[in-house]
């Protein structure tokens, strides 16, 4: 598993580094999305997760959920467009799961993607994400994930 400045980035995922979002391809053709450990480390402990409702459409590059931490609120953006088929109700109830378990219990939504091949081409495979993320962290002045878990 790549580990960049103390941030875990599983190599079986696909990454939208600019928006700090990971994608997992599911067997049924849908994709699962979540925030990377870098995103949750920078935002601090999440106190609210408000996904778009199941059945709603998401445009490529637009918000599929809103997250809130302390004084900050912002969108979680999906590089892929499509229809939301499931939202993580456990995360609605306990938003800090995104901090403690960003790649498993802390997932955001499951999307039935449109033009997945097109969206996938914009994502970085986990095996190659370390360099891209290192550059992003350096640009943002981000020291690392150490000590940022809740």
């Amino acid at each position: 598993m790549p580990d960049v400045r103390g941030c875990h980035l599983p190599d079986d995922l696909l990454y939208d580094v600019g928006n700090h979002i990971w994608f997992r391809e599911l067997a049924d053709g849908n994709v699962k999305l979540g925030m990377t450990a870098v995103a949750t480390a920078m935002s601090g402990k999440l106190v609210s997760f408000t996904p778009k409702k199941a059945g709603r459409a998401v445009l490529a590059g637009k918000s599929c959920a809103t997250v809130e931490s302390g004084k900050w609120v912002g969108p979680a953006k999906s590089a892929a467009g499509g229809e939301i088929v499931q939202v993580n109700e456990a995360l609605v109830a306990t938003p800090s799961l995104a901090n403690s378990d960003p790649y498993e219990a802390g997932w955001l939504v499951i999307l039935k993607p449109e033009d997945w091949a097109l969206a996938k081409a914009t994502l970085t495979p986990g095996a190659q994400v370390a360099a891209a993320y290192e550059a992003k962290m350096a640009a943002d002045g981000f020291a690392g994930c150490a000590g940022t878990s809740p």
Binding site: N19, M42, S48, K71, W72, V73, A139, D140, A143
Partner: protein
Amino acid sequence: MSWSNEADERMARMNRGPSPVFRVIDTGIRDGRRQIAFDQAMIDAHQAGSIGDTIRFLRFPPTALVGRHQSLEREVRVDHCRANGTGLARRITGGGAIYFDPGQLGWCLVFHRSTLGIASLEELARRICEAAAAGLRRLGVDARYRPRNDIEVDGRKLGGTGGFFDGDTLFYQGTVLVDLDPRAMLDALKVPEDKLARHGLDSAAGRVVTLKALLGSAPPMAAVQEALLAGFAEGLAIAPMGGTITAEEEALALRLHDEEIGTEAFVAGPADPAAVEGLGGASATTPGGTITVHIRLEGTPPSRIREALVTGDFFVTPPRTILDLESALRGAALEDAGDTVERFFARSGVSVLSAAPADFRRTVEAAIAAARG
């Protein structure tokens, strides 16, 4: 901040070169929905690269402004506002409902995530608030940053803040209470103090303070703006420079207003039939006096404290302790609220307290149970 963080920051600053320039603009007094549309326009224009980092000042005609995810009907006396010409608007940022009139000054910063060399959003919020407070101290008031309650003077709130992040663009905004009509505020908003406390006006007014009250007269808005700019320049090591609003920003703001932010549907917000009032209170009679706690919850289902009001006839020194306790409880997860009370008293430096911390804890937990229904 640790030494190593400071050293990292100095290095980052050296790498950045001279102080980053922030354009300064003022959108003056505008309709609330137009001001919020301008917020979004700045974010969009900044993301598109058509404007640089910017500081903006803004003011509102009498307006009730709800947070991004709040229920308008639950937070605002809509009929009263409509009958009295008080505007209704919804922010793009989170947080609670606030009342604005021309006596308050709004400020906001729009900037790239890398501009200030601080990646942690929590740290950024602290640094911006500390810079704003330092600026306000130039006016002769002892303004300080207090986590969660933002900018305060002796425990009373002088201004609130909140931020929005979207990709590499960050947006952080705040208010300064230069002057305030507390009656107009209470008439416009359904504040729990008004609903729950016997002396609603005194209670709400006692928790906020204005520059006018502190200084004897309201300073000119231009002086408050200058003070804030000086605070940001020094505290954030930036170079504010007078600038102009672009035609693109105005056009974008107009479009966003007409298509979304200015519409009744956006301001009314999503229907939320599952929403519960989430309001509850409890009292405990202790040898050291009676403690009364009112709690308002937030989240669906309720998961954290939005506001806490602690009153009673107990004795406590220094008197601001209870205001600080309320501040510490704001945002606390419900399961952590009892521990938050105990931790607060353990660290508070309170010198006289007639009731025990455990009594406060018990009353807070009882109020939460009542609010959960």
